[in-house]
Amino acid sequence: MYFLRRIGFAIPLLLLISFLAFVLVRMAPGGPFDRERAAASPEVERQLKQKYRLDEPLWKQYGYFLGNLLRGDLGPSLRYRNHTVNDIVAEALPVSMLLGMLAFGFALGVGLPLGFFSAVHRGRWQDWAGSFAALLAVCIPGLVLAPLLVVTVAIKWRLLPVGLWGSPWHAVLPTIALGLFFAGKVARLMREGMLGVMQSEFITTARAKGLGEHQVMLRHAFRLAVLPVVSYCGPLLADLLTGSFVVENIFQIPGIGTFFVNSMVNRDHTMTVGLVLLYAVLLVLLNLLVDFIHAALDPRIRYA
C-alpha cells in the first residue's frame, strides 16, 4: 500500500521534472541548427524548425511532447535526424546498464569488505591503510585515472583491450575506472556505519549473550551497518546505470552517458528531455527499491 502511494506521488513529480527540463534546455542560447556552415537558405532553417515544432509557443510544444509521451514516444532526435530518441535509448541504455551494474558490483565488492576491515581494526595501522585507500579512490578524478589505466594495463602490459565494447574483457578497465570512486565512497560509509553500530548497546547485548566476536560482527553489526550504504545505493545506481561521460568517452563505449552531455552541448532538446525523464524514472524506482531493502534488513522499520 505504502509503495503504491509512493508511485502515485511520483507521477506529478516526473511531470514537473520533464517540464522543468523542457523549459531549461530551450532557455540556453544557441539552437540545434546553428552550425559552422550556414544552411542553403534561411528557408531551410525555417522549415526544419517548423518540422520539429520549434517555432510554436512553449506550452504548445510541451503539449505535443506530453501527447507523444502518452504513446511512449519521446520524439525524434534533433541532431541524429535519422533516429528517434527511443531508438537511441533502446540501443545505448542496455550498454550503460550493463557497465553500471558491473561497476556497482565492483564498488560493493571492494567497498564493503574494505570498510568492514577498516572498522574492525579501528585505530590500528590496518584502519589507517584501509581508510587512506578509500579516500584516495574518492580523490582521484576519473578523468586522470582512466587514461592512466589505459596506458599502463592496456598498452604497456597489453593485458586488456584499450577500448571499444564487445567481449567481457572490454568491460574490465571501464568497470574499474567507473567503480573505483564509488568503491571508496561505499568503504567510507561502511566504516562509519560499523563504527556507529559497534558502539551501540545492541552489540554489547549480543556480546553479553556469549556470541563469538566473529559472529557478532558478521551477523549483527554488519546487518545494521550496511544500512547507510543501502540508502546510498539508490542514487548511486541511478548514476551508474545512466552511464558516465568521461569513461564512455575515453574507452569509446556506446553507452547513454555521452548522449547526456552531448545532447545538451548540441542543443538536441528532445534528447535531453527524454534522458532527464529516463534518469528521473530510474531514480524514483531505485529509491523505492532501496526502501524495500531497508525494510527487509532493519526489523525496526515497518511501512504501514
Binding site: 542560447p29 544557441g30 539552437g31 546553428d34 552550425r35 559552422e36 550556414a38 544552411a39 542553403a40 537558405s41 534561411p42 528557408e43 531551410v44 522549415q47 518540422k51 525524434p76 541532431r79 541524429y80 535526424r81 535519422n82 531508438d87 537511441i88 540501443e91 545505448a92 546498464m97 550493463l98 551494474m101 558490483g105 564493503l112 568492514f116 589505459v150 596506458v151 592496456a154 598498452i155 597489453r158 583491450p161 584499450v162 577500448g163 571499444l164 565494447w165 564487445g166 567481449s167 567481457p168 574483457w169 568491460a171 558478521l218 554488519f222 546487518r223 568517452n249 575515453i250 569509446q252 563505449i253 556506446p254 553507452g255 552541448v265 542543443r267 527499491l289 531493502i293 527487509a296 534488513l297
Partner: protein, 554 residues
C-alpha cells in the same frame, strides 16, 4: 559476508549476473576485413543532409552519383553515368546512365531516380544545408524558395537512361558537384514510405558500392559489399567497419594496439606527437584544401576601419604560429585559397610586417594601441584535437597582438552552438573560423564572402567583389577566369581584409602500407572505401599483435 548480501538482496545480484550472462552469450559478430577510425559519430547517413567530412566518407560508399571522384586525383570520373555530352556554350549537360546500374535490391536505376533525388535535395523541407550546390541549375533557386513548380527546374528525364541538366552559368566544376553527396541517387520509394527513419528500412536499396549492414550510434557503422553495384568487380573488401571516435588519444591507442587498421581525420591526430609520428612509415600527410582563418566583424568599432584590420593582419606572424603549434605539413596562409586548388593561381597575400602594422594602427588613431577599445577573440569549445588547437592558436594570437600592436584582446572560448549562433548574428569582434573545399575550384572558397552568402558572417559587403566573382563564373576562358578570381582574392585579403588567413590544413592518415592498400592522398582527403583492401600475405606473416586473446575468447 558476501553470503549475507546475497541472502538479503537477491534481486540486485540476480539481475546483475543475468545481465552478465546475457552479455557473455550474445553472438559475436564476424570481424571486419578492415576497421577504420573515422572521426565524430555521423549525425546522419542521408547524403542530402550530411555536412561533415566523416559522414560524407560513408555516404559516398552507400550512394553513388552521376560522377564519382577518382581515388588518386579526386577528379570526377564516370559513375552511374557512363558518359556525358556538354553543349558548346557549357550550359547543357546530357548524361547517359549505365545499363548495368541497378539498386542493391535489383531494380534498375533510372533517370527518374536521379531527378527525384535532386529535387528532394532542393526541396527546403528536406532540410539540406547543401541545396545551394544545385543553384547553378536553371530555376533551382526559385524552386527552392517556392516561387516556381518542379517542372520549371532545368532538369529533364526524356528517357530512363538519359538525364539532361540546364545550367545558369558555364561553371567548369559542375561535374565535380555531380559527385557531391547531396547529388547522390537515393531510393525514392523507401524514403516516401519510411520518412526520417528510412535508413533503418530493410532491405535498404543503395546505389553505391556498399550496403548498410549495421549502424549503432557511437559504436560502428558496418558496411557490407553490394554485389549488384555496377563496379562490384573492383570492390576490394567484403566488410568494412567504420568506428566513430572523438578523442585523438583513443584513436591512437586503438591503432597502436591493432584494434583498427586506418585512422583518417585531421581531428584525430594528437598535435603534440606530430614530430614523432611524421617520421614513421605508416604516417601519411598531404595537402588538403582547407584554410584556418579569423573573421573580423566589420560592422563594429574598431574593425569597421580597414586600416585596423590590415594592421591586425600584418601583426599576425603566421609562420611562427605554424612553426610552434603545427609541425607537420600545414603551411602558413598568406592568402585564402589554398595553393593546391585547381584552376587557380593565387595572389601573393599579406606578409607579416610589424612596422607597417604599428604605422597603420597609429594612422587609425591608436598609436601603440593606446585608446584601443575592449575587443574579444571568440573561438568554439570542442572536444578533440580541433578544440585544443583553437585554444592554442588563440593564446598565441593574443600574445602576437599584444607584443606587436600593444593591444590586449580578450580570449573567449564559447560553447559551440552559442559560438556559431553568435557568429551568424555578427555578435563578435574577432572570430576563429575554418573552411574546407566542397569541390576543387577557387569558387568554393571565394564565393563565401559575396554579399548574399549565408557563410559571409563578417558584415562585409563589396559590390566590386560580387561583380568579380559573378563574372568569373560566367567566364569560359580559363586564363581570364583565373585573373578575375585573383583580383577578387587580392581585394579580400590585401585591401579590404574582412578575414585573415592563418594556415592551410594538411590531411593526415595512418595505416601500415605493408598491410593496407588502395588509399591515395589527394587534396580533397577523399578515399573511396571501395578500393581499400588488406594485403593478405603480410597480414598473415605479421600475425596481428592486437588483443587477439580477448577477441577469440568469446
Amino acid at each position: 559476508m558476501h553470503s549475507l548480501v546475497q541472502q538479503r538482496c537477491p534481486n540486485i545480484l540476480a539481475l546483475w549476473s543475468l545481465i552478465l550472462l546475457a552479455a557473455a552469450c550474445a553472438p559475436q559478430e564476424r570481424r571486419a576485413d578492415i576497421t577504420i577510425i573515422n572521426g565524430a559519430e555521423p549525425e546522419s547517413l542521408d547524403p542530402a543532409i550530411v555536412t561533415g567530412i566523416p559522414e560524407m566518407r560513408i555516404t559516398r560508399a552507400l550512394f553513388d552519383g552521376l560522377t564519382r571522384l577518382d581515388p588518386r586525383t579526386a577528379k570526377p570520373v564516370p559513375a552511374l553515368a557512363e558518359r556525358w555530352d556538354i553543349s558548346p556554350d557549357g550550359l547543357v549537360y546530357t548524361f547517359h546512365l549505365r545499363s548495368n546500374a541497378v539498386w542493391s535490391t535489383g531494380e534498375p536505376i533510372t533517370s527518374a531516380d536521379v531527378l527525384w533525388s535532386w529535387l528532394r535535395t532542393l526541396n527546403p523541407a528536406t532540410g539540406s544545408d547543401y541545396a545551394g550546390q544545385l543553384f547553378w541549375i536553371q530555376g533551382a533557386e526559385d524552386f527552392h524558395h517556392g516561387r516556381v513548380p518542379a517542372e520549371q527546374v532545368g532538369l529533364r528525364a526524356p528517357d530512363p537512361r538519359v538525364f539532361q541538366v540546364r545550367l545558369t552559368a558555364p561553371v567548369p566544376f559542375f561535374l565535380d558537384i555531380c559527385a557531391f553527396p547531396a547529388l547522390a541517387v537515393v531510393p525514392g520509394q523507401v524514403i516516401e514510405r519510411h520518412g526520417d527513419r528510412w535508413l533503418h528500412a530493410r532491405p535498404l536499396p543503395v546505389s553505391g558500392a556498399f550496403q548498410l549492414g549495421a549502424w549503432r550510434l557511437n559504436d560502428r557503422v558496418r558496411l557490407v559489399r553490394n554485389p549488384r553495384y555496377w563496379d562490384a568487380a573492383n570492390t576490394a573488401s567484403e566488410i568494412i567497419d567504420v568506428l566513430p571516435i572523438g578523442s585523438p588519444s583513443t584513436a591512437l591507442n586503438l591503432y597502436e594496439t591493432g584494434a583498427a587498421d586506418i585512422v583518417w581525420d585531421k581531428d584525430l591526430v594528437p598535435a603534440e606527437l606530430l614530430d614523432v609520428l611524421a617520421k614513421r612509415p605508416d604516417f601519411h600527410t598531404f595537402d588538403f584544401l582547407g584554410t584556418y582563418f579569423y573573421r573580423f566583424n566589420v560592422t563594429r568599432e574598431p574593425f569597421n576601419d580597414a586600416r585596423v584590420r590590415l594592421a591586425f593582419a600584418l601583426a599576425t606572424d603566421k609562420a611562427e604560429l605554424v612553426r610552434k603549434l603545427l609541425n607537420s605539413g600545414e603551411k602558413p596562409a598568406f592568402h585564402f585559397v589554398p595553393e593546391a586548388t585547381a584552376n587557380y593561381d593565387p595572389p601573393e597575400g599579406v606578409p607579416c610586417n610589424p612596422l607597417r602594422a604599428r604605422e597603420l594602427l597609429a594612422q587609425a588613431g591608436f598609436p601603440e594601441g593606446k585608446g584601443f577599445p575592449r575587443v574579444h577573440y571568440a573561438f568554439p569549445s570542442a572536444a578533440g584535437a580541433s578544440g585544443n588547437m583553437a585554444r592554442k592558436i588563440a593564446v598565441e594570437l593574443q600574445q602576437m597582438w599584444r607584443e606587436t600592436l600593444g593591444v590586449t584582446v580578450e580570449l573567449r572560448q564559447i560553447e559551440r552552438k552559442v559560438f556559431y549562433s553568435a557568429q551568424s548574428r555578427l555578435d563578435f569582434n574577432l572570430s576563429a573560423s575554418s573552411w574546407v573545399a566542397d569541390y576543387n575550384d577557387p569558387n568554393t572558397f571565394l564565393d563565401l564572402f559575396t554579399s548574399s552568402s549565408g557563410n559571409n558572417r563578417t558584415g562585409w559587403q563589396n559590390a566590386e567583389y560580387d561583380r568579380l566573382i559573378r563574372e568569373a563564373n560566367l567566364q569560359t576562358n580559363d586564363t581570364a577566369r583565373i585573373e578575375l578570381f585573383r583580383r577578387a582574392e587580392q581585394l579580400l585579403v590585401n585591401e579590404e581584409v574582412p578575414i585573415v588567413p592563418l594556415y592551410f590544413f594538411a590531411g593526415f592518415n595512418y595505416f601500415d602500407p605493408s598491410k593496407i592498400a588502395g588509399i591515395h592522398q589527394n587534396p580533397l582527403d577523399e578515399h573511396p572505401l571501395q578500393f581499400i583492401r588488406r594485403i593478405r600475405e603480410s597480414a598473415m606473416a605479421a600475425g596481428a599483435p592486437e588483443s587477439s586473446s580477448a577477441q577469440s575468447a568469446f
